[in-house]
C-alpha cells in the first residue's frame, strides 16, 4: 500500500507561519474550524499578504482555488470575503478572510493570480461587491441588464412577497397593510 502524504494539520499552518514571520501586522484574527484555519486580514494588507504567500519559496501558495462571499445582513460589516489558496509544495490549503461593508470595496487579486479574475466577477455579479483595480468588472453569469445581486440574503428571488403573520414587516409596508393587520396605518374602514 502506498504511503499517504502527510497533510498539514490544521490546514493553513504553513501559511500562518509564513505570515507571522513576513507580515506580522497583517493577520487580525485566526480561528480554527473543522481542522482548517481561517486567517482574517486587514483589507489594506490583503494584496501584500497574498503576494508574500505566493512568492515565499517555502510556502508557495500559487494556486487560486476560489474566492467567494458570505452575506450576514444583520451584521456590520456585512460581508465575509473568503479566499482559498493551495500550495502544492507544502500540500496545504489556506483560507483568508476579509470583511467588507454593503457598499464597500475590496482590492482585486486578479493581478497577482489571474485565476481570481473570473471568481471576482462572479462575486460582483451575485453579491454586488466592487473589486478595486479589476480589469474587467462585468457580470459573468447573469445577463448584463439584470437588476440586483441574487445571492444577497435579502434578495427576493421570484414572484411577489407573500404576507404571512410572521413576515408582515418584510412583505407589506404599513400603508399597504389592511386595517385588521397589526401595524397598519390605514384608518378603520366602515364595514357595511
Amino acid at each position: 500500500m502506498r504511503p499517504v502524504p502527510a497533510t498539514v494539520r490544521p490546514a493553513g499552518t504553513t501559511a500562518l507561519a509564513c505570515l507571522r514571520s513576513g507580515l506580522p501586522d497583517a493577520a487580525r484574527a485566526v480561528s480554527e474550524d473543522h481542522d482548517q484555519l481561517t486567517i482574517e486580514l486587514e483589507p489594506t494588507r490583503l494584496i501584500d499578504a497574498v503576494r508574500l504567500l505566493r512568492d515565499d519559496p517555502v510556502a508557495r501558495f500559487e494556486m487560486p482555488i476560489f474566492m467567494t462571499c458570505v452575506d450576514w445582513p444583520e451584521r456590520d460589516p456585512r460581508f465575509d470575503v473568503v479566499y482559498v489558496l493551495r500550495s502544492l509544495t507544502g500540500n496545504d490549503v489556506v483560507r483568508l478572510l476579509v470583511r467588507a461593508d454593503a457598499d464597500g470595496t475590496v482590492p482585486t487579486l486578479s493581478g497577482l493570480l489571474p485565476g481570481m479574475e473570473w471568481h471576482e466577477r462572479e462575486c460582483y455579479d451575485l453579491f454586488g461587491l466592487t473589486f478595486e483595480g479589476h480589469p474587467n468588472l462585468r457580470r459573468i453569469l447573469l445577463p448584463d441588464d439584470w437588476e440586483g445581486h441574487p445571492l444577497r440574503r435579502d434578495y427576493v428571488s421570484f414572484g411577489e412577497p407573500v404576507a404571512f403573520t410572521h413576515n408582515l414587516e418584510w412583505a407589506l409596508s404599513p400603508q399597504d397593510r389592511p386595517e385588521y393587520m397589526p401595524g397598519s396605518v390605514r384608518g378603520s374602514v366602515e364595514r357595511p
Binding site: M1, R2, P3, V4, P5, A6, T7, D33, H34, Q36, T38, E62, M63, P64, I65, F66, T68, V70, D71, V82, V84, L88, T89, G90, N91, V93, R95, L113, P114, G115, M116, E117, W118, H119, E122, L126, R139, I140, L141, L142, P143, P150, L151, R153, S157
Partner: protein, 430 residues
C-alpha cells in the same frame, strides 16, 4: 514548445508518472500541419467571429468571441452564464438532504461525483463518518462515473476532430456503466445515490457480478480507442503542439484535473488530500509533459485505466456490513424499528420533514471530479439548511485559462482546444 515544468513537490509523496514517449515517432510530422502553421504571415485586419452559443463543439451553451486575423485567433473572450441555474441560491432554501438532487444537475456527466462532494462536506460539518462498505461502494460508483464522463469526453472530442467511430464505441461502453447505475439506484443519470450519511440503499446482489463483467473487457476497449487515435497521424497532427499552457500559468489560473496534469503538475486531490477511503487504494497519477491537447488526451485515457484499477481493488475487497452511518441525528432508524418504537417513528418523521441541523461553522472540502478539483464551501448557522454553499467548479477555473490557450491558434484548432479542457457547462454556470 512547452514552458517551465515545476519540479515535483518535495515531501508530498506524489508520483511523477510521466507518460512514456513512443520511440521513433516524431512529435511533428515532416511536411504535416505543424510545418504549414509556421508559414502564415500576420496581418493588420481583424474580424470578430461568434462561435456559439449554439455550436456543436462547445458541448453545451458556450459563446466564444474570437478576433480573427485570417484563420488565426488573436483574442478569445468566453461568454458564459447561459446555463446559470442559481443552484447556490436554491441550496439556501432546501434541507441538506434535499440539496442532493440539485447537485446531480450541476456536472451532469458525472452526477455521483457531485453527490459525493456535497455529502462529504456536509458529513464533515456534522462530524460523522460512514462505514467501510459504504465508502467502498461510493468509491466504485464515483470511479465508474469518472470513466463514463471520460468516455463522453473522448467520444465527443474525437467527433469534433472528425473521428466518428470512436464516438460510437465510447457510447457503447458508457451505456454499460449507466446500466449498472440504473440497477443500483433506479435512475440512469441523475442517480442521487450518494446521500449525506451514506447511500440511498445497499447495492443489490447482482452489483458485484455486473461490475466484474464490465471490468473484464473494459481495458481491451481502451486499447481499442487508443488503437484508433494514439498513433494515428491525423490525430497527432491535429492535437500535438496545440493549446499549449505551461505549468506555471496553468497553476496561476487555478486549473486542475487533466488540464493541469497535462502540463506536468502531478496534482490529484485523491493523492494530495485523500478522502472517503481513497488512501486505501493503489493507483498512479498520469502526468503529461508538454501541456498540449495531445498530452491532456493521454492523461485522461490513462486515467480511465487507473480508475479501472481502483474499481478492481474496491470490488475485490468489498467488505460486508452496513452502508449508512449509525448516527441517528442524520440517518433515520431502520424500518423494523419504526413498527415497534414510537420514538423511532417520530425521529423518522422529523428527519424527513425538518432534516438535521449541523452545528454552526464552516468548512471546505474538495474531491477529484473527472474535470479536476470539485470543492464545496459550506457555512452552517445551526439551521437545517446550508446558510451558504459555494461550489468550486473545476470547469469554471479551467475555462478561464481558455483564452491563454487559444490565442495564436487556428479557428479549427479552437474546437480541439475547447474539447481538450473537457468543460461541462452545467458545471461552469451552476
Amino acid at each position: 514548445m512547452s514552458g517551465a515544468v515545476l519540479p515535483p513537490p518535495p515531501g508530498t509523496g506524489m508520483p511523477t508518472g510521466a507518460i512514456p514517449r513512443q520511440e521513433g515517432v516524431p512529435r511533428i510530422r515532416p511536411g504535416g500541419r505543424g510545418e504549414f502553421l509556421e508559414k502564415i504571415e500576420p496581418s493588420e485586419e481583424l474580424m470578430e467571429l461568434n462561435m456559439g452559443p449554439q455550436h456543436p463543439s462547445t458541448h453545451g451553451v458556450l459563446r466564444l468571441v474570437l478576433s480573427l486575423d485570417g484563420e488565426r485567433v488573436r483574442a478569445c473572450v468566453p461568454d458564459i452564464g447561459y446555463l446559470h441555474t442559481g443552484f447556490e441560491k436554491s441550496f439556501e432554501s432546501h434541507t441538506y438532504q434535499q440539496c442532493i438532487p440539485l447537485t446531480d444537475r450541476m456536472d451532469y456527466l458525472a452526477p455521483p461525483m457531485n453527490n459525493l462532494g456535497f455529502a462529504l462536506t456536509a458529513e464533515k460539518l456534522l462530524g460523522i463518518e460512514i462505514p467501510p462498505r459504504g465508502q467502498y461502494i461510493r468509491v466504485i460508483v464515483a470511479e465508474l462515473s469518472r470513466i463514463a464522463s471520460h468516455l463522453i469526453w473522448l467520444g465527443t472530442h474525437a467527433l469534433d476532430l472528425g473521428a466518428t467511430t470512436v464516438f460510437m464505441y465510447c457510447w457503447r461502453e458508457r451505456d454499460r456503466i449507466l446500466d449498472i447505475l440504473e440497477w443500483i439506484s433506479g435512475v440512469r443519470m441523475m442517480t442521487s445515490f450518494i446521500r449525506v450519511g451514506g447511500l440511498m440503499a445497499d447495492v443489490p446482489a447482482e452489483f458485484e457480478a455486473m461490475v466484474r463483467d464490465f471490468l473484464r473487457d473494459f481495458l481491451l476497449k481502451v486499447d481499442e480507442y487508443e488503437g484508433l487515435l494514439t498513433s494515428n497521424p491525423i490525430w497527432r497532427d491535429r492535437t500535438i503542439g496545440l493549446g499549449v499552457i505551461d505549468a506555471a500559468s496553468a497553476l496561476a489560473f487555478g486549473c486542475s484535473g487533466a488540464t493541469l496534469r497535462g502540463s506536468g503538475v502531478p496534482y490529484d486531490v485523491r493523492r494530495a488530500a485523500p478522502y472517503g477511503g481513497y488512501e486505501q487504494f493503489e493507483f498512479d497519477v498520469p502526468v503529461g509533459v508538454n501541456g498540449d491537447v495531445y498530452d491532456r488526451y493521454l492523461c485522461r485515457v490513462r486515467e480511465m485505466r487507473e480508475s479501472c484499477r481502483i474499481v478492481q481493488q474496491a470490488i475485490d475487497g468489498l467488505p460486508a456490513g452496513p452502508v449508512n452511518s449509525t448516527d441517528r441525528r442524520v440517518v433515520p432508524p431502520p424500518r423494523e424499528e419504526i413498527d415497534t418504537s414510537m420514538e423511532s417513528l417520530i425521529l423518522h418523521f422529523k428527519l424527513w420533514t425538518e432534516g438535521f441541523r449541523p452545528p454552526p461553522g464552516s468548512c471546505y472540502h474538495a474531491i477529484e471530479s473527472p474535470r479536476g478539483e470539485l470543492g464545496f464551501f459550506m457555512v452552517s448557522d445551526g439551521g437545517n439548511r446550508p446558510y451558504r454553499c459555494k461550489v468550486r467548479a473545476p470547469s469554471f477555473s479551467n475555462l478561464s485559462a481558455l483564452s491563454r490557450m487559444v490565442e495564436g491558434s487556428l479557428v479549427a484548432d479552437a474546437v480541439a482546444i475547447v474539447g481538450s479542457i473537457d468543460i461541462v457547462l452545467g458545471d461552469v454556470d451552476r
